[in-house]
Subunit: 334 residues, 2 copies
Amino acid sequence: MKIYTIKDIARLAGVSVTTVSRVLNRRPDVNRETREKVERVMAECHFVGNANARGLKQTDSDVVAVILRGRHNPFLTSLAEAIMHYSQGSGTSFLMEFIDEQDDEFQTALRLTHEKRVKAFIFVGSRIDDRCKVLLGMDIPMVFATAAVGHEQLARASAVTIDERAMARLAVKHLLDCGHERIAVFGASRTEGDNLSLRYQGALDAFREKGLVFDESRYVETRFSMEGAYECAREFFLRRPDTTAAFCMSDSVAMGLIRALKDLGRTVPDDVSVFGFDGTEMGQFFIPRLCTVEQPVDDIARESVRVLMDMFRNNAEPTEVVVKAELKLRESVK
Amino acid sequence: MKIYTIKDIARLAGVSVTTVSRVLNRRPDVNRETREKVERVMAECHFVGNANARGLKQTDSDVVAVILRGRHNPFLTSLAEAIMHYSQGSGTSFLMEFIDEQDDEFQTALRLTHEKRVKAFIFVGSRIDDRCKVLLGMDIPMVFATAAVGHEQLARASAVTIDERAMARLAVKHLLDCGHERIAVFGASRTEGDNLSLRYQGALDAFREKGLVFDESRYVETRFSMEGAYECAREFFLRRPDTTAAFCMSDSVAMGLIRALKDLGRTVPDDVSVFGFDGTEMGQFFIPRLCTVEQPVDDIARESVRVLMDMFRNNAEPTEVVVKAELKLRESVK
DNA sequence: TATAGATATGAAATCGATGACGGAAACGAT
DNA sequence: ATCGTTTCCGTCATCGATTTCATATCTATA
């Protein structure tokens, strides 16, 4: 099976390569008969243009990369997949890059900028920090999916998130309203400006409103995996058995924690109430059904693509889009 | 921030572009001093070659595409991610393509063959059928990860799987050994040659060995999602409450089913035993812990990459690699 | 000393497309 | 009849790399 080039098509249709190129790019200045003849030949040969050649010449064409950090996080993975899905209608070619925990996503982005002439990025699961200054200096549009940009005004960087702080506040408020006071919070490191730190702030807000203070010694730092959470939770609940509720910053953590409690002979929600975060499909079917903050994956994905396209198609200003999340009150809290 | 080309590097290093190209490609015929000078300049400029230009000229260079069908299946998703991970050491550029349920993966592959000069494919979650004949005719190496090639000799197509039939047989044998006889089987459509049909055959084998016959009316066709399984299981167990065990062809199905049973007021494993398939992380932490056939994701991924590279680097014959799976006997079966 | 061979480098063609520019033909207005 | 416009299409340079071929220098051997 021969791979045809536009030269072949031009020869077969009896026109110049330029004309074929014009037909390919749907330019108006081609006679209808000529266009139809060329199209017929292209169809017969199953002609598909060479993306390398096009990309080489058209330095102004758009390529977007989605960079996913954390392939073991089901929420982030499904978000990245949803972004790829919604990118299909955009008329721009999106490519996905997986990076490992220890890799620097901005280094990778910089490389792609040169290597594949990528013109814009969507980061999934990355926190925003100084490392991205080089990219920002190049005036490259970037969207952070589920990471808050925060106060620091970063040119050309947009963010699509839920209102992390408000939702965390509502979640913890719910726990407090249910009568819990000895509440543990399971998160990761509390880096400033991070979206997880916002969830932490939200939790503190809820306490404050009730005239209470969060007992810092009930903050647990854990990896965001079921296994990591299992270990941490086991250790914690052995040490602090009086804790009656836990607010977890991800569903995976919540489920690992529930499993740990079960193994300690304690039941959820009768002995301990557990609140999750993310709203993964798994949580709905878990036993007990997970009470959680549902992040609208499709909305975040769609908005991320929209905001990005808007930034470099219409040169729109970077924005911070907040999509609506929902509290899913389910069995794991009582 | 300027994007340097090899022309720039050549000028700055005071050599020709040919020499820079030679340094880039680690060719031996460059004087050490020259090489070091060029390398120094490249490092200073943070030079990264343009993949489009290289791909355009080097028609013999290798590009591999991983085509993932079914972005809602956690097992397949993590397998695809693992393949991308293991591809990193191969020295070949791998790209990942997501396709939707209704799309034809072989059409997509054919397009990539032209558009990006992809030379080989790894299909994740695709079944092998006649549609791939065009690709096979082009002598393009392909690997099917977790799909059995079966008897039909397909040139240039390899497969990496576990021994589906044997493992399914062991799983169902375990259920029978536990004293269950009224066993339901939850799978998808029983297409011939499909890996799921092998699991079905394995289940039948187990019955046959015990001198029993599987009651066909206990075969349930379901979508491979928790939600789909939930609906099917609910309907089935209302209709056939005497069923004491279920063999599910995926962990997602098993978990959806367990949730459905719970909602019907029946407990697992006391009232009904449930066997899963895949060995997802989730299953280990589910309540009850899921008894399942664990597919070694990393092994399958590594072997898929290895077999593929072997096929077009060393022109190795296509093979069918069977990796070792393991029965994980856990709480959900009694 | 002459010659072959090895080593190191550059000039120029090339990959498959795009795009600036220009020319030919057809048409309309004066 | 002349000139300006519009429409349609081709020539040629170009994108950034690789690769072939030629050339220059050095070394080893007859």
